[in-house]
């Protein structure tokens, strides 16, 4: 995880087409029940994240982004599907692997890119970097680089909203390795005890850095952890954006109407290394495994589904692709134009003036 620019190299750009990938069998049925405009929007968001992350990898390899940078490639369906169920007054908290959720929530790609590059115009003024994105007006409450650090905060956010009699719900994302830290257990108990409108989404990509879940958890069926706290639970295919959307929508409904929490495990896979300075495969997983998982690329599967239903044509895809490419290019241009923070900026913001 040493910050070295050479270690990971550049990512291979994903070809944006179904290219032989079959549609998700469960996905077709859900797609038929979803308005085409929503389907297209979900696809656009997933594509935007993919292209943004590919660009971030490129800038990292060029030394324009430094430090630790964790990409969301492979997991797009989870963030996009889940966040698509929210309204503008709801809240999101995430881990350090949060570029995807931030983009899905509609944070400005330019301000995110500028943050990754340490620029003054970044969402956190360059002080936080990739792992510390934050935008309260958009309900995006971080960006947390301590594993599990966001889990108690989410309970507090939901508590305050309930106390203030606001109808919002709070989504809290974390990786499967985070369920082993004390804050997870303390917070789930609180959320259930206090009946908080919070939805905990565990993105099980099977590895915490270089260690598979089988070597760090006594229980593999992670949503069962909810039983210990008498909490509702769900387990969903995290490579299927519509399945995620449906499961999270049920939990959102439970939170809004009954003020009750839910724990959801979304089974997904990270296509890249843990961070940009870690290898994609190596001792801990084989190249063949990664390639096999890439055949279930959530974007390709979704395109195949939409094509098979005639919701999008190859020309539509090309158009969307152009659109997100332009957004990403604009984001990079914005970041490049932005200034670096003044040295004395170091001292501002330590305290509320």
């Amino acid at each position: 995880m040493e910050a070295s620019h050479a270690a990971a190299g550049t990512v291979q750009l994903t070809e944006v087409s179904a290219s032989g990938t079959p549609p998700g069998p469960m996905q077709i049925d859900r797609a038929q029940r979803t308005p085409p405009a929503v389907l297209k929007d979900l696809l656009e968001k997933m594509l935007l994240i993919r292209r943004f992350e590919e660009k971030a990898a490129e800038l990292y390899s060029m030394g324009k982004i430094g430090g630790f940078c964790h990409l969301y490639i492979g997991q797009e369906a989870v963030g996009v599907g889940a966040i698509s169920t929210l309204g503008p007054d709801d809240y999101i908290l995430a881990s350090y692997r949060e570029h995807g959720q931030a983009l899905a929530r509609g944070l400005d790609p330019g301000e995110i890119m500028a943050e990754l590059c340490g620029k003054k115009s970044g969402v956190s003024k360059g002080k936080g970097g990739s792992m510390h994105l934050f935008d309260k007006p958009r309900g995006f409450l971080g960006g947390h680089a301590i594993v599990g650090g966001q889990i108690p905060l989410a309970a507090g956010v939901a508590f305050a909203e309930k106390y203030l009699k606001k109808p919002s719900v709070t989504l809290c994302f974390f990786g499967e390795a985070a369920v082993n830290i004390g804050s997870f257990h303390e917070s789930l108990n609180l959320a259930a005890l206090w009946k908080l409108p919070v939805i905990y989404i565990c993105e099980n990509n099977r590895f915490g850095m270089g260690t598979p879940i089988e070597r760090t958890s006594a229980l593999y069926d992670l949503s069962q952890k909810a039983c210990a706290y008498n909490m509702a639970r769900g387990c969903v295919d995290g490579m299927d954006v519509l399945a995620v959307r449906e499961t999270v929508a049920e939990a959102v409904e439970r939170a809004r109407s009954q003020s009750a929490p839910t724990l959801i495990e979304a089974r997904t896979y990270r296509f890249m290394g843990h961070s940009m300075s870690d290898p994609v495969h190596g001792h801990y997983r084989t190249k063949a495994e990664v390639e096999e998982q890439r055949r279930h690329d959530p974007i390709k599967v979704f395109i195949a589904t939409l094509e098979s239903l005639g919701v999008v044509s190859p020309a539509d895809i090309e158009e969307l692709n152009e659109k997100v490419r332009d957004s990403v290019e604009d984001a990079v241009a914005f970041s490049e134009r932005s200034e670096e923070p003044e040295p004395l900026e170091l001292h501002t913001d330590v305290y509320v003036p």
Partner: protein
């Protein structure tokens, strides 16, 4: 004598202690198959097996607490924090359990908690802190901060053999950037003993960790200008070497206290108090502190650079103090 990196020296020290004493074992996140986030434990799983090189869940409190329990039973655990910043998640087990077991019960808990600290790699606010002072304020713990490969090996061995809980702060910026001579075979560096890293006569620079190299760079520069800096590397912060601190100040009569940790409540404040109490008559100028300012560590590279003390800042302060 073989030359090796700071990182290899730590690894060799642990390796030799594992060979020497079967009660030594390692636990931490990704330390086995993955060899550790920074590869300090690379190859150890293969050599010593999964019973002694234990991959743990992300559970800092349980990692530290289990190490304390095992130490109580006579084992010598070496727990890795993937970054020393995350030690906060295991804080209670360190400052309440480990630190006070001997005082309460007279029982030994010989354990080591080690990991990377410090800035300079654009890690941002949660992956860059120099948080050694959190523990220097806790009686019952020992805190060491090696700056050279030689000391890295000698101190890890001393820490593992010590019967008290020892926090061993590595500096991640030094891992592969510095190399020095490390003798083959067994030696230890006594905990609590400073060393003179460079002899000089005009100004004493008392420091530790990565800042030792910064001080040496400034000393090199100032020597060309006819000002002689003596650089003292504390190596241990708790306990620290009071005699060495007093000796260098009595010799040079002027002093700069330098560290990467933030200013208020930093080691420099402690040393300044000691000097005010015991070396008041020996001082020919004001005590000068050069430290990071009282802010979190920012991510943005130019801000981080501004945050960190560097040779230029030390040289400027030394010139002023020399002219005082």
């Amino acid at each position: 004598m073989p030359v090796m990196t700071y990182l290899d020296a730590i690894r060799q020290g642990i390796w030799e202690e594992m060979e020497r004493d079967p009660s030594v074992f390692l636990l931490g996140e990704d330390i086995g198959d993955y060899g550790g986030a920074f590869k300090v434990t690379a190859g150890m799983l293969k050599k010593f097996g999964a019973e002694r090189v234990i991959d743990t869940p992300i559970s800092e409190s349980a990692i530290v607490g289990a190490a304390v329990g095992a130490a109580l039973m006579g084992m010598r655990p070496v727990a890795e924090m993937q970054f020393m910043d995350f030690i906060s998640c295991g804080f209670d087990q360190i400052v309440n359990m480990a630190a006070k077991i001997h005082y309460r019960w007279g029982a030994k808990v010989p354990l080591v908690i080690r990991g990377p600290s410090g800035a300079g790699v654009h890690g941002g606010p949660f992956h860059s802190q120099s948080n050694e002072m959190w523990f220097v304020h806790t009686p019952g713990l020992k805190v060491v901060v090696p700056a050279t490969a030689y000391d890295a090996k000698g101190l890890i061995k001393a820490a593992i053999r010590d019967d008290n809980p020892v926090l061993y702060f590595e500096h991640k910026f030094l891992y592969r950037r510095i190399k020095d001579e490390v003798p083959e075979g067994d030696y230890t560096v006594p905990i609590g003993q400073a060393r003179v890293a460079r002899e000089g006569t005009d100004i004493a620079v008392i420091t530790y960790g990565a800042m030792v190299w910064t001080a040496l760079e400034a000393a090199e520069q100032l020597a060309k200008e006819g000002v002689s800096l003596e650089v003292v590397d504390l190596r241990s912060l708790l306990p620290y070497d009071e005699q060495a601190v007093l000796a260098t100040v009595r010799k040079c009569n002027k002093v700069i206290l330098l560290h990467e940790g933030t200013r208020t409540g930093g080691m420099a404040g402690e040393l300044a108090a000691l000097l005010a109490e015991k070396a008041f008559e020996d001082l020919d100028g004001p005590i000068v502190r050069i430290t990071a300012p009282d802010t979190p560590v920012p991510f943005s590279p130019p801000l981080e650079e501004f945050f960190l003390p560097n040779a230029k800042k030390v040289a400027e302060a030394a010139r002023k103090l020399a002219a005082y």
